[in-house]
């Protein structure tokens, strides 16, 4: 029997959204379509007819009724909603071979998407500072060390993400000139 579903493990950082879009497009070209994404790094695909399908990721600030009208706008414009993961919204659109489609049609709005993402990551900074390992040291030395290592790794990830996003924004700004 032919497999109709497959699961893939792949990691994309916050600044690699375009790479993720390309990968999902390549999967669709082989006939594998992303199913409602739930966990970072885990992608479930359903088998179908191979096609030229463009994937696009947005990072909006919306909730409740606003989110409904947000989805409606994408639907009206011919985009299928795939699902959301960690604040990212996944959309796809079938196109003719060689054609492309964009959810952001100018550089200004693309930059704004990364601004929203950076603002979202910034929210975590005070939380991390509040959780600083100084407060945890009193439990046991080995515990303190483990937490410090984990904490430092996460902090580095966050700072790297901010720097990479800042670079993406600068690249886009250069395109406007």
């Amino acid at each position: 029997m032919e497999t109709t579903r497959i699961r893939k493990f792949k990691w994309f950082w916050a600044w690699q959204d375009e790479r993720e879009e390309v990968w999902l497009q390549e999967m669709a070209a082989q006939g594998y379509y992303l199913e409602d994404p739930r966990f970072p790094g885990v992608y479930d695909f359903v088998r179908g007819e191979p096609s030229e399908t463009i994937y696009r990721l947005d990072f909006p600030y919306t909730s409740g009724q606003d989110f409904e009208s947000y989805l409606q706008l994408f639907a009206d414009a011919g985009w299928d909603y795939v699902g959301s993961m960690g604040g990212w919204q996944y959309f796809r659109k079938k196109v003719q071979a060689g054609e492309t489609a964009e959810i952001f049609t100018d550089v200004e709005s693309k930059i704004k998407k990364y601004h929203r993402l950076m603002a979202y990551l910034t929210i975590f900074l005070p939380i991390w500072i509040a959780l600083s390992p100084d407060h945890i040291d009193r439990f046991a030395p080995w515990f303190g060390i483990t937490v410090t290592i984990l904490y430092t790794a996460l902090m580095l990830m966050l700072v790297t993400a901010m720097l990479m996003l800042f670079r993406r924004i600068q690249e886009l700004k250069a395109k406007m000139k």
């Binding site: 947005d58 409606q72 706008l73 009206d76 964009e102 959810i103 049609t105 100018d106 709005s109």
Partner: protein, 116 residues
């Protein structure tokens, strides 16, 4: 009338924003704005839903447009008085641009080469 400075703060408008404001001289929902903008701009301005949604949120926040109704899940917007003033100020700038371009061209280059 708003202070000229209040209006100038919103200028220059991006091409997308210009056509959104123009489209909203009539009450419309998002998808109708997309179609209207594409037709009016003779296909030169295509608004993606991400760009349009972001622009509508920003324009509503700065009170250049306002929500006037709801049709199922579609929000209907219209331009405000402030929006109209900003739009006119931008139109005036475009008029100046086009006028100066024509004058400069016809006085310094072969006028018959000018196709616009």
């Amino acid at each position: 009338m708003e202070e000229p400075r209040t209006i100038a703060r919103h200028l220059p408008l991006t091409e997308a924003t210009f056509y959104i404001l123009l489209a909203l001289l009539e009450e419309q929902h998002g998808y109708a704005i997309m179609q209207d903008a594409e037709t009016m701009s003779e296909g030169t301005v295509k608004l993606g839903p991400g760009t349009l949604y972001g622009a509508l949120t920003t324009l509503e926040g700065s009170k250049l447009i306002r929500k006037v109704g709801q049709e199922q899940r579609r929000k209907i917007y219209a331009i405000t008085d402030l929006g109209k003033q900003v739009l006119q100020a931008q139109m005036k700038r475009y008029g100046i641009m086009l006028g100066s371009a024509r004058r400069k061209w016809t006085t310094t280059a072969d006028a018959d080469q000018l196709e616009v």
